[in-house]
Symmetry: D2
Subunit: 132 residues, 4 copies
């Protein structure tokens, strides 16, 4: 229930001259993972921003286990294990088409009121949708 | 006088699996060329935006002549040949360290009033700095 | 028959501080358009490269008509109008969810033998799949 | 001695619609920090790869403390605290023009023999240049 899987196909421009996906592109992949999970729950991050709630990334950690290649379809598995407060912790596991874990990652995002630029609590409707 | 040269070192993440710079990165290189030229004339694009003038790209054309490689230092030569009106035409010639022309490009940018979102004339101080 | 439509959702990292999609990201969108078209015809660009045929971009032209925003789903319509020879000309029309044309573009790509780095003719199986 | 500072100017395309630098671009900034440090010591990462030694990123952690803006010049301070073995640990502190720490980060990179794809020890000439 607190987890979601989303597939992404690797673009040509995401490779580098090592012949694999450039390591700096993974923050985008895990962002897509969490955004699409929220969407699947009926939460639009776009609308959240329009309503004045920002979710900047406070910290990020990535472990690169196996390389990923051009045209591969990767699955980003996004999980939230504990109830969000003024921040929300996501965990990610990326697998390739053979089901091998190629990358794991974690991020901490903060809820921020766009007008005051101050931290705020996770909105109640988000907690409800996340079933916390 | 209507032209300026700026050097850029190619980043690892700008290569692709062909072992050369990914073609989609050149719009950034020529943007840096024109921005740095304006800076050399005492025009800050950042301040221009803060004062309510936007310069969105209306069209762009790039010819890829020779590949460029990781760690290469390229020179972007930016030229304006005719007096800007409600738009400004830039021409670019990118050369490698051996002086070979590796890419040529042109862009048209429009002056837009950020509040009204309407086209506007090139500000007089920009014409003055550009010596038109 | 000589045309194909593919949808792409705009990523957060593809926006810039104007609040719209950064103009430099469109070469990626049209590349995805042509790659997915080839895939729909049973042509894998990945396999083409593995078999020693490269398709570098020789030239590119883009017209930016209307802005595109975060989370928008754009449609890239890719067309080939004339029979490929040693190069292939693609035309693109990008529309937004309201069906408005937001961008048009053209590219010329060259068929290159990866071993000899020399130009070559479009492989016969590609002509066959493209129905030329 | 085991530390180096390199300045980078923020590009327009590196911002996002929050009006700040997109968080996913920082892996590039710290990579430039470590590459330029190596260059300052007489070590070319490009040549290292040409000689068959790859340095893929094994893990990466970033803390985002303060936002960075378009046109800002940031300083990436790169440090190596312990003698490299089969891997090398870099620490980074990014400061803005006011000297404020805006980001801290760490990475672990592995020395890999490109032919065998196997881990290898840090080459002696690298240890020498790093004064370990």
């Amino acid at each position: 229930m607190h987890s979601y899987k989303f597939n992404i196909r690797i673009r040509y421009g995401e490779t580098d001259q090592m012949g694999v996906v450039y390591h700096g592109n993974y923050p985008q992949f895990i962002e897509i993972g969490r955004i699409e999970w929220l969407r699947s729950l009926g939460i639009s991050y776009k609308e959240m921003e329009e309503e004045g709630v920002m979710l900047p990334v406070v910290s990020l950690a990535i472990n690169y286990i196996k390389p990923v290649f051009y045209d591969d379809v990767i699955s980003v598995n996004t999980t939230v294990k504990k109830k969000p407060t003024a921040s929300i912790d996501f965990e990610y596991e990326i697998t390739n088409a053979s089901g091998e874990v190629v990358t794991t990652a974690t991020t901490v995002l903060a809820f921020v009121n766009m007008k005051t630029k101050r931290p705020m609590r996770c909105p109640q409707y988000v907690l409800d949708k996340l079933r916390f």
